[in-house]
């Protein structure tokens, strides 16, 4: 995420990127008027369909191939759909890597890691906006710079730190170094700053402390922004590869992407592509489902800073 453009609130970004057509029915009529029909089809739907095919076909090919027996993978005349669908490939994945354990690790790391990160982001953003201390802006600047440091740069020292703490091949060792959250803090701080002051004034007159102001006022009106941060965090944690790859080498502590990497190094023949596709389905399809259901928040969060 770039920190240089003036970002709007996530809600505004979501609105800007997902504007529905104003009058759907009028749009339909206009698009398919005889006068516009050729234009609609040639410069509208044709490129849209080509673009969608380029995106969807590889994923469809993955799902289809994951149900094909080895014979249909190595054939010179492949078919789009499996002729004799089978679950053998999924069985094979489970026999090469401890699939349930690895899946469980991924879920554990994603759930625990994301929960802590979101909580930390909420409390830090709240403190930066509402608790007046000298130097708070300097601390925020420090967090912004941290946003710019890619995990790869800090990989080696973190490896030494976590190894020194005995965190190799442990789930907490996978989770801990990623917990400090700059992205979520940044996004929620922008959101909290945009909240109207009047919301808090009545509560202050009642003598409400910071805890009550956070949990009874700031949180309830910020749920969309928090959902955005949470979903982006979940996506990142689930897909995270480099750090778990470095810090684990025993299969029962690996997360799914690392387990699949191991699977790839075991399965090197052409016939094993079906097994690898089954593995890819396991890591890709859950995120596809989450994305399809909640794309509004995820797109808003991931394109944050882009929309003026």
């Amino acid at each position: 995420m770039s920190l240089t453009n003036t970002p709007t609130t996530p809600a505004a970004a979501a609105r800007a990127v997902s504007q529905p057509t104003v009058k759907p029915r009028a749009a339909w009529r206009r698009a398919f008027e005889p006068r516009h029909l050729a234009d609609t089809l040639l410069t509208g739907y044709l490129p849209i369909i080509i673009a969608m095919l380029i995106i969807v076909l590889p994923l469809g090919w993955m799902i289809s191939s994951s149900f094909k027996p080895a014979g249909e993978i190595v054939t010179l005349n492949p078919t789009l759909l499996p002729q004799e669908p089978t679950l053998d490939n999924y069985d094979a994945v489970a026999s090469r890597v401890p699939l349930l354990t690895v899946l469980g690790n991924s879920i554990y790391v994603t759930v625990i890691g994301s929960t802590i990160k979101v909580l930390l982001a909420i409390t830090t953003a709240y403190a930066l906006v509402f608790i007046r201390v000298p130097g708070a802006n300097l601390i925020f600047l420090g967090i912004l710079v941290a946003l710019m440091v890619p995990a790869e740069v800090s990989m080696l020292p973190n490896y030494l730190t976590i190894t020194g703490l005995g965190g190799r091949n442990t789930l907490w060792g996978i989770i801990l170094p990623g917990l400090g959250t700059a992205f979520g803090t940044f996004l929620l701080r922008q959101h909290f700053k945009a909240l109207p002051k009047e919301l808090f004034e009545a509560a202050e007159l009642d003598g409400a402390g910071h805890f009550r102001k956070l949990f009874q006022i700031a949180l309830p009106v910020s749920l969309p922004a928090i959902a955005t941060v949470a979903l982006v965090t979940v996506v990142n944690e689930w897909n995270s590869f480099l750090w778990p790859l470095i810090i684990t080498d025993t299969p029962d502590k690996m997360t799914l992407p690392v387990g699949l990497n191991l699977l790839r190094s075991i399965e090197t023949t052409t016939a094993s592509y079906g097994i690898l596709m089954a593995g890819a389905v396991l890591v890709i399809v859950p995120m596809l489902i989450v994305f399809a259901a909640l794309q509004r928040y995820i797109v808003a969060g991931l394109t944050q800073g882009a929309v003026k």
């Binding site: 770039s2 240089t4 800007a16 990127v17 997902s18 759907p24 749009a27 698009a31 849209i48 673009a51 969608m52 995106i55 969807v56 994923l59 993978i73 190595v74 010179l76 409390t123 830090t124 709240y126 201390v133 601390i139 420090g142 710019m148 890619p150 790869e152 740069v153 800090s154 990989m155 080696l156 020292p157 490896y159 730190t161 917990l179 400090g180 959250t181 910071h210 897909n239 590869f241 480099l242 790859l245 799914l256 992407p257 990497n261 790839r264 052409t270 592509y273 690898l276 596709m277 593995g279 890819a280 890591v283 890709i284 596809l288 994305f291 399809a292 794309q295 991931l302 882009a306 929309v307």
Partner: protein
């Protein structure tokens, strides 16, 4: 004198609260207030640290401390896991900038970044222009096109590994249909680099399309309509109105894409080409040097420091120049 004036003032404005007898109390009050403020301030500090402290500590321990310690490691000739390390000054940096293998990393990074950034931005803009036509059903298309951006790089790489397989991949079947033999995507280093660029662009173009789409939607419709009335054709309209008004978006995407292509491509690179022959961009090289076959931790740390400052400069340049020179509405 002073008393006189005060008396006079007191006579003139009998209700004024600031009459002389209360002056000492005023001073006491000021001290009191200062003390209260300090008490409040220290109370605020402890609350602030309660709320933000854990996060700040984690960021210090796992982002800032590594930045500093990398600079120290980068001056060492040191194998990962070895107890012995000798100080070599700036040798690691000199080697990275002058040795053939170091220069090769820059060449690969340059080609990969250029291909990835230009590819995903051009395709992303084309898709955004089409999606901006307000056709029914475009929301579904937008979701579909964006979706690879949220998928695991390892999963994507596995899928494309299969598609690019020169003997049995879907692409070799398609090329075979046209009578073309599949290139050796994995054995030839140049083809391997093109392959990972294609896959990266596939995963990334939806991000560019959505950001471009948001930019397009912020262009006022009346400008376009005015140009249409003046008989400007669609191509003229694009280059004279749309593109100039889109420059902030273009520069934003340029900078984020350069940064992402340098950092986020790791999953695809490592999974599709595990040894990194011909595809060792700077981020992959950092990994290969310390955790690959060589275990040259000092050298790896030096490259990491160089990467950090490269990203720092790119962001600073954007802050300094780009923000001012581009056309904002």
């Amino acid at each position: 004198m002073a008393i006189q004036t005060q008396e006079r003032r007191a006579a003139e404005e009998p209700q004024t609260p600031a009459d002389p007898p209360t002056a000492p109390d005023e001073a006491v009050l000021a001290v009191e207030r200062k003390r209260a403020r300090r008490r409040q301030s220290s109370k605020n500090w402890s609350l602030f640290l309660l709320f933000a402290g854990p996060n700040i500590l984690l960021i210090l321990a796992f982002i800032y401390y590594p930045l500093i310690s990398n600079m120290y490691y980068s001056t060492l000739d040191w194998r990962l896991g070895s107890p012995r390390a000798t100080s070599v000054g700036l040798d690691n940096y000199i080697r990275f900038f002058t040795s053939p293998s170091g220069v090769e990393v820059w060449r690969v990074t340059g080609i990969f970044t250029a291909g990835a950034v230009i590819g995903s931005m051009v395709l992303g803009l084309l898709i955004a222009l089409v999606l901006n036509k307000k056709l029914p059903g475009r929301t579904i298309a937008r979701t579909a096109v964006f979706s690879p951006y949220v998928l695991s790089g390892v999963g994507i790489a596995l899928v494309w590994n299969f598609i690019f397989d020169p003997a049995r991949g879907a692409l070799s079947h398609i090329l075979g249909f046209f009578g073309i033999a599949s290139p050796e995507w994995y054995l030839n280093e140049d083809w391997a680099l093109l392959m990972v660029i294609i896959v990266y662009v596939w995963a990334n173009l939806g991000y560019c399309a959505v950001v471009f789409l948001a930019g397009l939607q912020s262009i006022p419709q009346d400008l376009i309509e005015a140009a249409t009335i003046d008989r400007a054709g669609p191509i003229r309209r694009f280059f004279s109105i749309t593109l100039p008004l889109l420059t902030p978006t273009v520069f934003f995407l340029l900078v984020t894409n350069i940064i992402f292509s340098m950092t986020r491509a790791f999953d695809i690179l490592r999974t599709m080409t595990p040894t990194g022959h011909g595809t060792n961009t700077i981020i992959f090289e950092i990994y290969l040097q310390s955790f690959g076959a060589y275990q040259r931790a000092g050298y790896s740390a030096a490259i990491a420091v160089v990467l950090f400052f490269t990203l720092f400069v790119i962001t600073a340049v954007q802050l300094r120049f780009v923000e001012r020179k581009v056309h904002y509405q």
